[in-house]
């Protein structure tokens, strides 16, 4: 391991440890034992095959959501629209999943995934296209589109695509066909593998392709990119469409591989966690995988921690915020580790905000 790799791992690792230590203080303040709490947390996330499956299932949409934010960051765009993109992806994938039958799996499943992905591409693309053509701020537009998507998917799952079996009154779609269900290999959901492959694919595109170079150029300096002959508007619009596709795939995998259907209100909040994941990963597509696994593990183990140690599962959110803080403020961690500052350590995203 080279020194720079070591350094890039040391800060997040120290941040995680500091986050858990302060979390332990909170646990003590509630009169519970941190040892019991954390050991049951880890057991609930890694203890057996079921626990591992839960962790990987929780990590999957987090990887997709993290990529959706990280990819847009590279072009200097802040995608807060992961929630809406995830919702439209989830509902359209479910619609193809239950609405068509008699197809073999190798056609039906990809078709359902593509339907979700396309919906997400459109949802993200709207924000990107408006940014490119009118200068409308992507932060405003993606936030508004989240609310629109919430209403739209509520309506779709309560009216045209409603599950009318039995006397169901919940806003949800029917179960997807077996031929559109994403299988699980032992304790490893195939959706998770798909997420990991997508993360590697994103890294390849961003770091090794002409398009990725254009995206990064636009992110670093829009004017310079323009003078270098890069179509800035097109790059921004397409980047948001890619980001939307990524978040939507997370929703599609939830519908087809975890819930077996779309149900209004089930995925709420999931899309926002992508922001945390991307920041933890410092907007590096490969870093998104361990970041999502860490948060996925904590979420998978939270209910066991509540059951065994009597600690409210919301502790997980507090620890996430603490870890994020320590990752973002490497000064503190470096001081603790007596490390010198590396060149690329500081993460800069806010600068992309100011040049709309």
């Amino acid at each position: 391991m080279s020194r720079s790799t070591l350094r890039s791992v040391a800060v997040p690792l120290a941040a995680v440890i500091l986050g858990l230590l302060i979390g332990a203080l909170l646990i003590v303040s509630q009169g519970a034992s941190p040892v019991t709490a954390y050991s049951s947390l880890i057991q609930g996330g890694l203890g057996d095959g079921d626990a591992l499956l839960r962790t990987l299932q929780k990590a999957t949409p987090l990887i997709f959501g993290g990529l959706a934010v990280a990819f847009a960051f590279k072009a200097g765009l802040f995608n807060i629209g992961g929630q809406g993109q995830l919702l439209v992806g989830a509902v359209f994938a479910a619609a193809v999943g239950f609405g068509v039958d008699g197809l073999p799996t190798f056609i039906h499943l990809p078709a359902a995934l593509i339907a979700g992905a396309l919906a997400g591409a459109i949802w993200g693309g709207i924000a990107g296209a408006l940014k490119a053509t009118t200068g409308a701020h992507e932060v405003i537009v993606t936030i508004m589109l989240n609310f629109v998507a919430g209403n739209l998917t509520d309506w779709l799952s309560a009216n045209p695509w409603k599950d009318n079996s039995g006397n169901n009154i919940v806003a949800r779609t029917p179960l997807v066909e077996d031929s559109a269900t994403i299988p699980t290999l032992g304790a490893v959901p195939v959706g998770f593998l798909l997420a990991v492959i997508t993360a590697i694919g994103c890294w390849m595109i961003l770091e090794r392709s002409t398009y990725g170079f254009e995206v990064r150029s636009v992110g670093q300096n829009r004017n310079a990119a323009h003078y270098a002959g890069i179509k800035v508007g097109w790059t921004m619009a397409s980047t948001m469409a890619v980001a939307g596709t990524l978040a939507a795939l997370g929703g599609a995998v939830e519908s087809l591989g975890v819930d077996g259907r779309f149900e209004a209100g089930v995925n709420v909040g999931l899309g926002f966690e992508g922001i945390t994941i991307a920041l933890l990963a410092r907007a590096n597509p490969l870093g998104v995988i361990p970041a999502a696994l860490l948060v996925g593990l904590m979420e998978a183990g939270a209910s066991r921690m509540q059951f065994k140690a009597g600690v409210a599962p919301e502790l997980i959110d507090v620890i996430q915020a603490l870890i994020l803080f320590f990752v973002a403020a490497p000064m503190i961690v470096r001081w603790l580790l007596r490390m010198r500052q590396g060149d690329s350590e500081q993460l800069r995203l806010g600068a992309g905000w100011g040049n709309s």
Binding site: V139, T276, E314, D317, V318, L322
Partner: protein
């Protein structure tokens, strides 16, 4: 403001007054209800926008308004519940907002943490902490803030109910609008604040302590979000619930940008947004059209997207030049 823009503004104002009067003569009670709902929905967004505006004018992005609302609402509620005093609760809310503002400043200005990350830390931290310490058995104990009639002004038709029979924090917000406007555009502090947001290097050269002023401004701005949190818990809802800010901290950002980072612009944007929200409630309650409620629910958001896109086309948006950048003394 250019002459043409001023002309457009006056045309818009006259149009709104004429429309409001004609609707009022056609159906008084319902017009009053919709416009009162407009002012009600605008208060929280305005307070959030004032918070964001002071930060951004000084060059610091604040996407943590959502978290500031939530944490302040939590403490406003809890303190009122313990002391039985709405006033103490509101003060606690403001103090919490100031503390959250100070934390944002400490991270974004002091530790030079990326501003977007610093805001996200506030948002996640607030959601986690308030949910972790949430006590479902607690209640406000006293009634929430009620409307205060401003003497005979409240008896005026339409505007009486809409503007002069409001609860206290709504009045305070209207006063603060004027105060912030004067401070930003007519005072030395305001000129310095705008200078460090546009060109911190130049401001530094003439002797302004850029980092110190940003520190102070971001902390102070938190107080506005804190008042917003108090409004949410003590005036609008009368209780606390998990995640009760419900994305309105982000909406306030949209209102601020749409209002071109000026107090009256933001209030106009907030009123506009509040109007679409009130209209949506009105449509739903009275089933005016035979449209599914979800589509009516989309109205405020779709309208905002269209308006933001249109005003982008007209070229009225420009961010402070140094927005989002950490200042390193040269």
């Amino acid at each position: 403001m250019k002459a043409r823009q001023r002309q457009l503004l006056w045309i818009a104002v006259v149009l709104i007054v004429v429309l409001a009067c004609s609707f009022y003569s056609a159906n008084g009670p319902q017009t009053t209800a919709v416009l009162a709902g407009t002012v009600r929905a605008a208060t929280l967004l305005t307070l959030g926008a004032l918070c964001g505006m002071i930060g951004e004018r000084s060059g610091v992005v604040n996407i943590g308004i959502e978290g500031q609302f939530l944490m302040s609402a939590f403490f406003a509620f809890t303190v009122t519940s313990i002391t039985g005093s709405l006033f103490m609760g509101a003060m606690a809310g403001i103090a919490t907002g100031l503390t959250m503002g100070w934390m944002l400043a400490a991270m974004a200005v002091g530790l030079k943490v990326d501003q977007i990350i610093a805001g996200t830390v506030l948002n996640i931290g607030a959601l986690g902490l308030t949910s972790f310490f949430y006590d479902g058995s607690r209640s406000l104990g006293v009634g929430k803030y009620t409307n205060i009639d401003l003497g005979s002004l409240a008896d005026l038709p339409l505007v009486g109910t809409v503007f002069f029979s409001r609860p206290p924090i709504t009045y305070l917000t209207m006063v603060l609008l004027v105060v912030v406007h004067v401070a930003l555009f007519r005072s030395v502090w305001g000129m310095r604040t705008r200078a460090i947001g546009e060109h911190p290097g130049a401001a530094d050269t003439v002797g302004i302590d850029v980092l110190r002023l940003r520190y102070i401004n971001v902390t102070l701005a938190g107080g506005f979000a804190g008042l917003g949190g108090s409004y949410l818990a003590l005036e609008a809802v009368g209780t606390f619930s998990r995640g009760m800010s419900g994305g309105r901290g982000f909406l306030a950002l949209a209102v601020m940008i749409f209002g071109r980072r000026s107090p009256f612009g933001a209030y106009a944007a907030a009123l506009f947004f509040g109007f679409t929200t009130a209209l949506q409630n009105h449509f739903q309650l009275n089933s005016v059209f035979d449209i599914p409620p979800q589509f009516v629910g989309m109205l405020p958001f779709v309208v905002t997207i269209i308006v933001v896109a249109l005003s982008g086309l007209m070229g009225s948006m420009r961010d402070p030049a140094a927005l989002g950048q950490t200042y390193e003394k040269g």
